[in-house]
């Protein structure tokens, strides 16, 4: 889109939702910009679907307000909101043909017949369903049903399209393909997409920004890279990708670095001091497996963090090799290395004594 887009197109303020005693959504504040492809990521029962249903108008928040494009929609019922939703089950009307399913929204808006036909043609072309328009839903494959659901939700040109686990029901190959198609459609139409998903990989590839939710609360909002490289909490670090963690205590602070004494690492680990920590503070050092190097000889760079270990287990994945390394403390960490050299021989074997090392910049400091 362009620079004039509204950064607070969707404005969620202090929204909570209680079901009896259960807090499904806990005091959420969130802004979503116009034209964004925004993902809400979390495990099952984290409140992400409830939040989506609040945006759609199926649930009324117990407290808080929701604004869309400057209009407070908190008390506006679902059928009067400029928002459409694609359901996880797709919710295709089984007693209507593909065409009738897609036209349903316009028919309810009393749009003229000729107009409806034109729009239906257009959107059917967009999702490439031309050959199936007269079919009944039960004759469609999963991928085709997904397209019908998408077309039906898009035809009213909503200001916001809500997608509840849009790809969860598709097999892996189709999912990857559909992912890019969704992104293309979103780009083409410029509609703001809000996607709910439990699949971190999906969220990473699809989204301009991600919000991570747990137990009804919003833990972190940011671009995929920020969320991955700079997680603010242990939950986010753990949920997105895999990560190795070392609990410890700050032992010394110099100009740039902090030294963290971690028992499981068998000594001090170095990290950049981004949180203005003092000696004695309890922190957690986290490192992504791909940021760790593995070598037979001790690494030469003195700046690097170096720990000795033995290879417990290794797995060859083609592009990557995964190592489970047991440190001297007994802690097992995960290391992944890209297989840059074409070779049938393995360089490092089971039970081999090796060194693992990483740059201080790769150490993520998590403050509990």
């Amino acid at each position: 889109m362009n620079s004039t887009r509204n950064p607070c197109f969707i404005r969620i303020r202090g929204v909570s939702k209680l079901f009896g005693d259960f807090v499904a959504v806990d005091n959420v504040d969130l802004d979503i910009a116009q034209g964004e492809l925004f993902s809400i990521l979390g495990g099952s029962g984290c409140g992400k679907t409830t939040l989506l249903r609040i945006l759609a108008g199926f649930e009324k928040p117990t407290t808080g307000r929701v604004e869309i494009d400057g209009v407070d929609v908190t008390d506006i019922p679902a059928y009067d909101r400029p928002v459409n939703m694609m359901f996880q089950s797709y919710a295709i009307f089984p007693h209507m043909s593909v065409e009738k399913n897609i036209a349903y929204g316009l028919r309810k808006d009393k749009v003229a017949r000729a107009e409806i036909a034109k729009w239906v043609d257009e959107v059917i072309e967009l999702v490439q369903l031309g050959d199936f328009r007269k079919r009944n839903p039960e004759q469609l494959s999963g991928g085709q049903r997904q397209r019908v659901a998408l077309a039906r939700a898009l035809i009213k040109r909503p200001k916001v399209l809500l997608l509840d686990e849009p790809l969860a029901a598709l097999d892996k190959k189709l999912r990857e393909h559909t992912q890019f198609e969704l992104m293309n459609i979103q780009h083409e139409l410029g509609i703001t997409f809000v996607v709910v998903t439990h699949d971190q990989e999906e969220a990473m590839t699809l989204s301009t920004r991600i919000a991570v939710m747990d137990k009804g609360r919003l833990l972190q909002v940011g671009e995929p890279k920020e969320i991955y490289e700079y997680p603010e909490t242990r939950f986010v670090a753990d949920f997105i990708g895999t990560i190795n963690t070392f609990d410890g205590q700050v032992s010394a602070v110099d100009e740039q670095h902090i030294h963290v004494d971690c028992e499981t690492a068998g000594g001090d680990l170095l990290a950049f001091n981004e949180h203005e920590l003092k000696p004695g503070d309890k922190v957690c050092i986290a490192v992504r497996p791909e940021k760790i190097f593995i070598s037979r000889e001790p690494p030469e760079n003195n700046e690097d963090i170096r720990v000795k270990g033995t290879v417990d287990d290794l797995g060859y994945l083609g592009n990557l090799s995964l190592y489970r390394v047991r440190l001297e403390s007994g802690k097992v960490i995960l290391v992944s290395q890209q297989n840059r050299q074409r070779s049938a021989k393995r360089s490092i074997e089971w039970e081999e004594q090796i060194w693992v090392s990483w740059r201080p910049r790769s150490s993520i400091v998590l403050v509990n």
């Binding site: 019922p77 679902a78 059928y79 459409n84 359901f87 349903y104 309810k108 009944n136």
Partner: protein, 297 residues
């Protein structure tokens, strides 16, 4: 291998044969007998109808009984009244049963089984006893009238028992579960997201009901209506116990012709007409459904 397939085919034939045999023995055969009797003349003998073939072996049948059914207005009126009564009870069962079934289908799984149990609970008591209980409720000095008089709404007891209204009440009460259960079965299977989706696309709650819930519940509605209407048409006990002496419904007429007048041929003709009256609309309905299903594919 070949023998295995043959064995399979044999079993297949046997399993298919059983229901056919059942229908033949307990439906077609009795129907043939009734048809035969309906074409005979009543005589004072044992059995009380003339044989199909007389002494000389020639066929002796008559359509007099059917002609009589059409000539005497009483029978037409009785059929009509039975249809009206059964239809009224069916509609009332549908109006009551739909919200009940909907409520049960949308309730928490734990309360759901309890509610279903409550629906079938009356079946644990004899049908006859339950109809008798209504007599106690509806009588001139029954529970309802006593309550109304105690409230001071009426001075004199109202005549409820032995009226058509009592029959209607009895039919509705007795057959309500047969409406609720098939409706529940279809509504319970329905994806709740469908209604949400309709509302999301601009349908109000009422519109969503008529666009989505109602058409998808149609199979249950039809099954429920047939399960109520058909037995209600031929109901004998309820009109006999709760209706007035002039409450001539088809079941009652049938009984009277058989046991009071001992006119078996006429009674058989009544029964055949009743069957036709019920079967013809069902066949038409099924043809329609088959055509719909064909169009759908």
């Amino acid at each position: 291998m070949a023998s295995l397939i043959q064995k399979d085919r044999l079993w297949w034939h046997i399993t298919v044969l059983v229901p056919y045999l059942w229908l033949l023995l307990f439906f077609l055969l009795p129907f043939g007998i009734i048809l035969k009797i309906s074409l005979a003349e009543p005589i004072l003998a044992q059995p009380p109808f003339s044989p199909t073939f007389d002494d000389t072996g020639t066929l002796s049948i008559t359509a007099d009984n059917f002609a009589f059914l059409f000539s005497d207005k009483l029978y037409a009126l009785t059929y009509l009244k039975s249809v009206i009564m059964a239809a009224a009870a069916t509609i009332c069962c549908l109006l009551l049963g739909f919200p009940i079934a909907y409520g049960i289908a949308r309730s928490q799984p734990r309360t759901r089984s309890l509610l279903l149990l409550l629906i079938v609970l009356p079946f644990w008591i004899s049908f006859l006893l339950r109809v008798y209980a209504w007599m106690g409720l509806l009588g001139n000095y029954g529970v309802i009238n006593n309550f109304l008089m105690w409230l001071g709404i009426t001075e004199q007891p109202m005549q409820i028992l032995y009226t058509d209204f009592a029959i209607f009440l009895g039919l509705t009460y007795s057959y309500l579960p047969f409406m609720i259960l098939p409706l529940y079965a279809t509504l319970e299977r329905m994806d709740l997201d469908l209604v949400d989706a309709a509302m999301d696309l601009g349908a109000s709650r009422t519109t969503a009901f008529w666009d989505i819930t109602w058409p998808l519940a149609r199979a249950g509605v039809i099954a429920g209506c047939m399960l109520v209407f058909i037995p209600a048409m031929g109901e004998y006990v309820i009109p006999f116990l709760l209706g007035g002496p002039d409450a001539l419904l088809i079941g009652r007429v049938l009984f009277d012709e058989f046991y009071v007048n001992r006119d078996w041929p006429l009674a058989s003709a009544v029964a055949i007409m009743l069957l036709l009256l019920l079967v013809v609309p069902i066949v038409i309905l099924q043809k329609n459904q088959a055509r719909d299903a064909e169009q759908a594919t």
